[in-house]
């Protein structure tokens, strides 16, 4: 079974739009925008692919930060950007198709922005 090399490029917010533009100019397609909550920090990953070469621009941002939209470069980013707002509460400005919090309807606002208590008392079966 083959596995992929998946380089991760740490990026700051000011470098995001130039970095995404450069990948677009090289012919990369947008694969996904993924968010992970790491304590009080959000990890936002912009993943791209060109002929099965996969790479990711990674932002580490604090809660309450506002991100610029990349829909001016990749119009197809709008579902991802609406999703990270609706699930994580991260504001994204100037999304080409902005649902303003109604794209994914959830009973709890920003459900993925809360920390979950882990059942640490459970016995691990794989020790």
């Amino acid at each position: 079974m083959k596995t992929e090399e998946q380089p991760i490029i740490p990026t700051g917010i000011p470098d995001l739009i130039p970095g995404v533009s450069a990948l677009k100019n090289e012919g990369y397609r947008l694969v996904a925008i993924s968010t992970t909550k790491l304590g009080e920090i959000f990890q936002v990953d912009y993943s791209f692919d060109l002929n099965f070469s996969f790479r990711t621009l990674r932002l580490l941002v604090p809660q309450g930060i506002t991100l610029p939209s990349i829909t001016g470069i990749y119009w197809a980013a709008f579902p991802y950007e609406n999703e990270i707002h609706d699930l994580f509460g991260i504001m994204v400005t100037d999304i080409a198709v902005d649902f303003k919090g109604t794209f994914i309807k959830t009973a709890i606002q920003f459900p993925f922005s809360v920390n979950t208590d882990k059942p640490e008392e459970d016995v691990c079966q794989n020790k």
Binding site: M1, E4, V31, A32, T36, F52, F103, K105, F112, K118
Partner: protein, 359 residues
Amino acid sequence: MSKQITIPFGPQHPVLPEPIHLDLVLEDEKVVEAIPTIGYIHRGLEKLVEKREYTEYVHIAERICGICSFIHGSTYVQAVETVMGIEVPERALYLRTIWSEYSRMHSHLLWLGLFADSLGFENLFMQSWRLREHILDDLEATTGGRVIQGACKVGGVRRDIDNKKLGEMVTGLEELETEIRELNKVFFNDSSILHRTKGVGIIMEKDAYELGAVGPTGRGSGIAQDARMLGYAAYDQIHFKPVVETGGDCYARCVVRGRELHTSIDIIRQAVNKIPDGPVEVKVTGTPNGEYWARAEQPRGEVIHYVKGNGTRHLLRHRVRTPTFANIPFLVKALAGCQLADVPVIVLSIDPCIGCAER
């Protein structure tokens, strides 16, 4: 310019097996804009990874979807196995490949039936689903499940298939292939199908690529991209070419799925010829510490399972990017400019799975 009106399409509609809502902005009978809304069945399955041990979570990953259940399970375990550096036995990788192709055939035959139904071709719908029963019977016989197979686990698979049964499966598929050929003749040549699908919902290759289209949706527009070419599971030992059509319309997307049924049978035939004897699982110890984006080709296109672990038995994050989610922008663009009567056919043509898209 005519006065614009907006009408709702879905979330409940005869052609939609699952709920998606579209606000269709019309000028007379022409759609000028389609605005999608999802969220009716959001379950938050990804969040459950924080509550379930990484070995148990495969049961939840399989339940993301009732159609491509097996491939969700196998892609999740592939991600965990890569992070943990687990060497999965060769026989298990071949079995995953065989069950993945069965899942693809099951999904494509289901879709062909639903597509015929969306055109009002009820007899063709029943024929497609009659053939699908053969696939479901084999899945049930080899895994115990028709919908949720429960066959994958971290470190291998839960069940083996003996070589005699594998031979019988190939013989059965070769008989089925004759019937699939007859079925495809109708889908590819019938005048009523051509009338409803040719030149409808056109997106050409360059636009489809920029929209991030994946799977048969992208390949119907000429994008020769198939995640199986990455060589995961046993695909690095199998010879096949992605099925590509260049029409970019609903007909091309239908033809891609019809032709892919034959590719799947050929892949299974090769896998059965090459599958080695040996164990189907290894003992797994330890906990995942690291991250990986596992990619696989589902029936609807490239799926991504991202996992991130910190050395505990609970993963920090499991994120799934499903093919339907990636194909939403394609659908929005394909609907712009179409006739209102063609909306159900175009929506069906991307094979939307909202259960997958919302997780």
